[in-house]
């Protein structure tokens, strides 16, 4: 290491002579940190998204590498959040990557004390059968005076508010066609 390199290695020298008089950026950088690259730079792709927690709607940039979310940052273009995220929004990566995330269908038989596994397609088929059976058992064609009812009160639903508008639209459309009136949402609570 030459004497010149040695001197230039001192943060205080760089602070006094360089472009960073406050010593908060380039002047304070160590050799190691200079070599690091941000996960945002090495990502394979980035999606523009929105925080799933409260209704402020802070913008997020979601970085993906090798099929994994590697970083979620505030979107600095957003006029709502100007790149900021609160503790919840900033924890979004830990939300989607949480070790407690469930990725397999689980099934509990009546009177069982444990869960078992179930194939997704089988589960969907079983649910469809149960919907049709509940509907048949509890169907109401008309009221006491013969006015149409076209409904079942044997099926209920309660949704959360991380559902997208498109999802809510399909849910309401399908339930209405099923005659299943009893559909509710966190918006009621």
């Amino acid at each position: 290491m030459g004497i010149r390199t040695f001197i230039e290695g001192w943060p205080v020298y760089r602070q006094l002579t360089g472009t960073d008089p406050l010593g908060r950026g380039a002047a304070a950088q160590s050799a190691r940190s200079a070599e690091l690259t941000a996960r945002t730079e090495t990502a394979d792709s980035m999606a523009r998204s929105v925080c799933p927690y409260c209704a402020v709607g802070c913008g997020q940039r979601v970085y993906v590498k090798d099929g994994q979310v590697t970083q979620i940052e505030g979107d600095w273009d957003s006029p709502i959040s100007r790149g900021r995220l609160c503790p919840k929004g900033a924890a979004s990566k830990s939300l989607v990557n949480s070790p407690l995330r469930q990725t397999k269908v689980r099934y509990r038989r009546p009177y069982a004390t444990e869960w078992e596994d179930l194939d997704l397609d089988v589960a969907l088929d079983m649910i469809a059968d149960r919907v049709l059976a509940a509907r048949d058992e509890t169907w109401e064609d008309v009221d006491a005076e013969g006015r149409p009812l076209n409904r079942t009160l044997g099926i209920s639903s309660l949704g959360g508010a991380t559902l997208d508008n498109e999802e809510n639209y399909l849910i309401k459309k399908l339930f209405t066609a099923m005659g299943a009136l009893q559909i509710e949402n966190q918006a009621r609570i």
Binding site: M46, R48, V50, C51, Y53, C54, A55, V56, Q68, P79, I80, C86, P87, K88, S92, S94, L95, R101, Q102, T103, V105, R106, R108, P110, Y111, T113, I127, R130, A134, D143, R147, P148, L149, N150, R151, T152, L153, I155, S156, S157, L158, G159, G160, A161, T162, L163, D164, N165, E166, Y169, L170, I171, K173, L174, M178, G179, N185, Q186, R188, I189
Partner: protein
């Protein structure tokens, strides 16, 4: 706001830097209070008394923005002489029926319109939460009204308002709310001084305001103040409702609610909406002014979007397929029906009622009595595991081997694993791009419901049962893509936006909707979000490249307007009220409205436009009537219909309160929605003497680090680490009174449950002096449950079920309890403790919560 909507709060701080005065009203001192100029601690559940005091202050001192009030509100409108105010009825308005606990609104109408009550009977309006429909538009009334522009007529709205609030004096505010008079006056002065031609003031409330038996009337009181002060439709003004969860706004706009269809169209009612014509005619009043008069086109276009080719004008667009309401089918009624064995199956879609809904035990016992339950979530939440890990398993009320509920747990896709729009708190739709596929079996709701619908239709193919036609004729052919066969979110958004049936051309907005079957439109208020075939919700023009209104970021309903009713930002002649508060104005040269935002007015209708008498629809709105979704074009200080528990907000005590109502004989909202059921109960309040069994007030709210029922935060390591434990905040005075020690344990008992929490002794809670007594309030976070990385008892278990009558939202921000040192009992002893309290409080089958407050027994209320 700093706690629960932190990044939104940055704008309050920006405003403060520019000189705005910030007032914070809350039962508990929070991060928001720390940053406000003035903090006002309040007794939970008394906000109408506080705000009513501000209304009185404005009117007594004539501080209203008179030009605005005269031109843009119904202050001058004359009300029927049959109307009797609650001030003259000891807390009850005219038209009340003690048998049904509901009002007949005939006497509340404007003079000369008594026969035109826009209301159905209010019992059925209450059961069907009809108030919710008015989120996009006012209640129907005929267009023509009698007015007295001098505001002197004794029955004009202005004078009625003045009389109604005359007793809400600073002394009364202090007596009811526990807020010292000087502090109240500081607020009232600041609010009025910062409103008017040159200045505007903003009101911000959060979800907690809605969770009261008088929740809608809280917000109405705020609206009265903001309207009197001329703060509506103007920059820096308005009322900001901070919704609690990403797309709560979207979930009411495109509702998954029993009583609504997309765009606030009502779900049909069996007796009043037998035919398509009856249904559409009930939605808008004949002769009604404004855009809501086109409701028939919105209805026809919705049914066309639902049933496609099968829907024709000849068959009333398949209206005959629609299921009909007969009363209350809301979530709390459903849960009671589950307990009674009437419900077979239940879907939970990213929602955790075992923790998040009032009366957790009722929720869990209901779920334990189903044939089947489908839980779709990211995590194993309490609502999926109540049958093995819930508190009722510990108390022996649920025995897994005897619990028949079949449970399907289906993992869900997270927000980055699917594409679609949220509608955020400012009515703003923002599109999320998909970052990656969901893991394993995880799928979006879009996937689940599209494929469930496909399967149901396959299984029913060939059925000749009439009931199956609605499913078989459904327009259900969305394109799918990728290995998971994920339906296209954009295709659904396009249908929501609406299109011309013949050509498929996306519509530019709701004014293009037709009632002849030539247009399909899934949600009329969202029409325009896919205008020109472009996903407008996915616009992300950087904030530095546009003006401060940022109209090119996402898309706001209706028609991308960022501030509703912004015609009111100009004076009746179309000129800005002031240069400082310029927003939308009339450009005489061009002959059109212009400004920083999309004008919320017909673009070329001049301020001087006056309709011929009797003109209905948009043409009936004069050039100086900014409130275009109201049936008379005016902001309503007084609501002749649309609000089922009174045309004016009135202070009632919370349903559970240790205080007698200082203003009226009537103790609690007489029109509240009650659920007499063996599992449900209400703790006694004065004048019943047994209120002393539950002498303390408790309230709940959020922590910055957790989210609602905890399903998205207790399962996430950094958040769980930041707030690892259930706790209760108590004042040093209460700690001394009851013998609680900091960091020790306490348990809280109500007529429903007993829960335990760690004690945090803090002066963030102030004992309040009201009516010469000290009222102690305690505070709890409501995020905890028995699953996840961090666990604790659920605060919502303490609440019973009683609802606001307009929207059927539960009173879960205030209740009464007892608090005792130490841990709670476990097992059978736990229920025994609750039973003991119930016995002492006289709660049981023989006790009925009185609708109309009985005369005081003479027993002193004050201890």
């Amino acid at each position: 706001m700093a706690e629960a909507h932190p990044v939104g709060f940055q704008w309050v701080m920006e405003a403060k830097l520019r000189g705005t005065k910030v007032f914070h009203v809350d039962p508990r001192f929070t991060r928001t209070s720390a940053l406000a100029d003035t903090y006002l601690p309040i007794r939970a559940g008394t906000d109408i008394a506080l705000l009513g005091g501000v209304v009185r202050y404005i009117l007594e001192n004539e501080l209203d923005f008179r030009e605005y009030v005269l031109a843009y509100t119904n202050a001058a409108t004359i009300v029927s002489e049959e109307f009797v105010d609650a001030e003259d009825g000891d807390g009850i308005f005219s038209g009340f029926d003690p048998e049904t606990g509901a009002y007949d609104q005939t006497s509340w109408q404007y003079a000369g319109q008594e026969g035109h009550s826009g209301s159905m009977d209010t019992t059925s309006e209450r059961d069907t939460a009809a108030g919710l429909r008015h989120e996009s538009h006012g209640a129907p009334i005929p267009g023509q009204v009698l007015r007295d522009a001098s505001l002197q007529h004794p029955r004009c709205v202005y004078q009625i308002l003045k009389r109604h609030y005359a007793r809400y004096t600073p002394e009364m505010v202090e007596r009811v709310c526990g807020i010292p008079q000087e502090k109240f006056l500081e607020l009232a002065r600041a609010w009025t001084e910062n409103s008017g031609r040159e200045r505007t003031g903003a009101l911000v409330y959060s979800v907690g305001w809605t969770q009261h038996s008088v929740g809608v009337q809280y917000i109405r009181t705020g609206a009265i103040i903001q309207t009197l002060l001329g703060n509506m439709g103007r920059p820096g003004g308005g009322i900001m409702a901070l919704r609690g969860h990403a797309s709560i706004q979207g979930s009411t706009d495109i509702p998954t609610l029993f009583n609504l269809l997309p765009g606030y169209l009502p779900m049909p009612q069996h007796d009043k909406h037998r035919t398509f014509d009856e249904w559409t005619a009930s939605i808008h009043h004949p002769g009604q002014k404004g855009f809501w008069a086109n409701a028939r086109a919105y209805c026809a276009s919705l049914l066309k979007a639902y049933w496609g080719d099968a829907a024709t004008p000849e068959n009333d667009f398949c209206y005959g397929y629609m299921p009909r309401m007969t009363g209350d089918h809301g979530t709390y009624q459903q849960v009671l029906n589950m307990i009674d064995g009437k419900v077979k199956g239940y879907f939970l879609l990213g929602q955790n009622p075992a923790v998040g809904s009032a009366h957790g035990r009722a929720q869990r016992l209901g779920m334990a009595n189903l044939d089947w339950l489908v839980v779709r979530d990211l995590f194993m939440i309490e609502s999926a595991t109540f049958w093995r890990n819930g508190p009722e398993v510990e108390s022996g009320e649920i025995v897994p081997e005897q619990c028949r509920t079949e449970v399907f747990f289906l993992p869900a896709a997270s927000h980055v694993e699917k594409e679609g729009t949220f509608t955020q708190t400012q009515r703003l739709l923002q599109w999320r791009e998909k970052a990656l596929d969901p893991p394993g079996d995880a799928r979006s709701e879009l996937w689940f419901f599209y494929h469930l619908g496909r399967k149901l239709r396959e299984k029913l193919a060939g059925s000749d049962k009439p009931r199956d036609r609605a499913l078989l004729d459904l327009a259900w052919d969305y394109p799918t893509h990728g290995p998971l066969a994920e339906p296209s979110g954009e295709a659904v958004l396009r249908e929501i936006n609406g299109f011309e049936v013949a050509t498929g051309r996306p519509l530019g907005g709701f004014t293009e909707a037709k009632d002849d079957g030539s247009t399909a439109m899934g949600c009329w208020i969202y029409s325009g979000v896919y205008a020109d075939g472009v996903n407008q919700a996915n616009r992300r023009k950087p904030r530095h490249e546009q003006n401060w209104v940022a109209g090119e970021w996402g898309w706001a309903w209706p028609a991308n307007r960022r501030t509703l009713y912004n015609r009111a930002s100009a004076d009746p002649d179309g000129r800005p009220w002031s240069e400082r508060k310029k927003y939308i104005w009339w450009d005489e040269q061009k002959g059109e409205w212009t400004g920083y935002d999309v004008p919320d007015f017909e673009k070329t209708k001049p301020p001087s436009y006056r309709p011929e008498p009797g003109t209905s629809g948009p043409a009936g709105i004069a050039g100086d009537d900014p409130f275009v979704m109201q049936a008379d074009g005016k902001a309503w200080l007084y609501a002749p219909s649309g609000v089922v528990d009174g045309p004016l907000p009135t202070h009632y005590e919370p349903v559970e309160s240790p205080m007698r109502n200082p203003l009226y004989q009537q103790q609690a909202n007489p029109a509240r929605k009650m659920y007499p059921h063996p599992i449900n109960s209400v703790n006694p309040s004065p004048p019943e003497g047994q209120w002393r069994v539950f002498p303390y007030v408790f309230t709940v709210s959020r922590l910055t680090e957790h989210h609602t029922a905890g399903g998205m935060s207790r399962m996430v390591r950094p958040l769980a680490e930041l707030q690892p434990e259930m706790f209760v905040e108590v004042s040093p005075e209460l700690a001394a009174e009851v013998g609680l020690t900091h960091l020790g344990w306490a348990h809280l008992v109500s007529g429903r449950a007993v829960i335990e929490a760690k004690v945090l002794v803090t002066d963030r809670l102030t004992p309040l002096r009201v009516e010469g007594r000290i009222i102690h309030q305690v505070w709890l976070p409501y995020h905890f449950g028995f699953e996840g990385m961090v666990t604790g008892d659920s605060a919502n278990d303490l609440f019973g079920i009683v609802l606001d009558p307009n929207v059927l939202i539960q009173e879960s921000k205030v209740g009464t309890c007892d608090i005792r040192p130490g841990r709670r009992p476990t097992g059978v002893a736990l229920r025994e403790m609750v039973e003991d309290y119930r016995r002492r409080a006289g709660i049981g089958p023989e006790r009925h919560d009185p609708v109309v407050t009985p005369p005081d027994s003479g027993a002193p209320d004050a201890s």
